[in-house]
């Protein structure tokens, strides 16, 4: 077995191709519109339509809430195209238990908003603009995610 097979037992090409496609989307949004396309801010900015607390009514959310929702709709569209063009149209499934999805999702949503970014905001956009705080964020969430995922396997 070669090193490549050891590191990437499921192959490596689709990972790189997918990553470059994600990067192309982020680059396109910047080239034409000048906007930094992290994904998690939409989970704060969209609440500004419902709640009038000062936190949600910050200018940075009001300014960007429209395009962030369109951006999220685009993600749904892209996944839908992939499903019908490349995955036979069948709906996908996961075997991760519901409680892990729900509790994990809650912590991921809360943490991403508290830390002002997620795997795309800090990982792709932050590292892509060479920001040290984002490197710190990435190393932090990679660390706790490694720990959590491995502890869960032992449990």
């Amino acid at each position: 077995m070669t090193l490549i097979d050891t590191l990437f037992p499921l192959g490596w090409q689709h990972y790189l191709l997918g990553g470059l496609t994600i990067g192309a989307g982020v680059a396109l949004l910047y080239l034409f519109n000048g906007w930094v396309g992290g994904m998690s801010t939409v989970f704060s900015s969209s609440w500004s339509w419902v709640f009038h607390r000062p936190f949600f009514q910050q200018e940075r959310f009001l300014n960007s809430r429209h395009w962030r929702l369109v951006y999220a709709a685009g993600v749904v569209l892209g996944a839908l195209v992939w499903r019908f063009a490349m995955a036979g149209g069948e709906p996908q499934h996961t075997n991760v238990p519901v409680w892990q999805l729900l509790v994990g999702g809650f912590l991921a949503g809360y943490g991403a908003r508290l830390g002002n970014g997620c795997t795309s905001g800090h990982g792709i956009c932050g590292l892509g603009s060479l920001q040290l705080p984002s490197l710190g964020a990435v190393l932090t969430f990679m660390g706790t995610a490694f720990l959590t995922a491995n502890l869960m396997r032992l449990a």
């Binding site: 994600i22 396109l28 994904m39 607390r53 995955a87 991921a108 795997t119 603009s129």
Partner: protein
């Protein structure tokens, strides 16, 4: 200043939709929409996620550093915005909590949204959790 920079014209809306579609398609091609693959990375069984993030951040680097030098303004007008990250207690604690949730579920915000397109109804539990987490954070925030 910032209002005009954010104005969503129809051409800008179409580009935003296309950019999001590339993002969602790329996540799907890279199998990041499968929590099992993400958890496999976090358990050191498959290093693919590094290629995904590296490929995406590499292109983003070209975009964020290159475009403001090569073009006066974005092709559809406005200005090249920056989003400076800050290193403080909130970033540290928030990222640590995010990682725990990510390691527990194998789902992060992008793939959670993409689940609406792939028809993965299981992951909608994670999406609901993220939506709720964002709400609780905002309601608890002092700002």
């Amino acid at each position: 200043m910032s209002m005009s920079a954010h104005t969503l014209s129809l051409p800008k809306a179409l580009v935003t939709l296309l950019a999001g579609a590339l993002f969602g398609f790329g996540l799907s091609v890279a199998t990041m929409i499968q929590p099992e693959v993400v958890l496999g990375f976090l358990r050191f069984q498959d290093w693919g996620l590094m290629l995904v993030m590296g490929g995406a951040a590499g292109l983003a680097l070209v975009a964020y550093k290159g475009f403001p030098r090569w073009f006066v303004r974005p092709l559809l007008g406005g200005q090249f915005l920056t989003q400076p990250a800050q290193w403080n207690r909130q970033t540290l604690v928030g990222s640590a909590i995010f990682g725990i949730g990510w390691g527990l579920s194998g789902v992060c915000p992008g793939p959670a949204i993409a689940a609406l397109g792939t028809g993965n109804t299981d992951i909608l539990w994670a999406l609901a959790g993220i939506v709720l987490g964002g709400l609780v954070h905002g309601l608890a925030a002092r700002e």
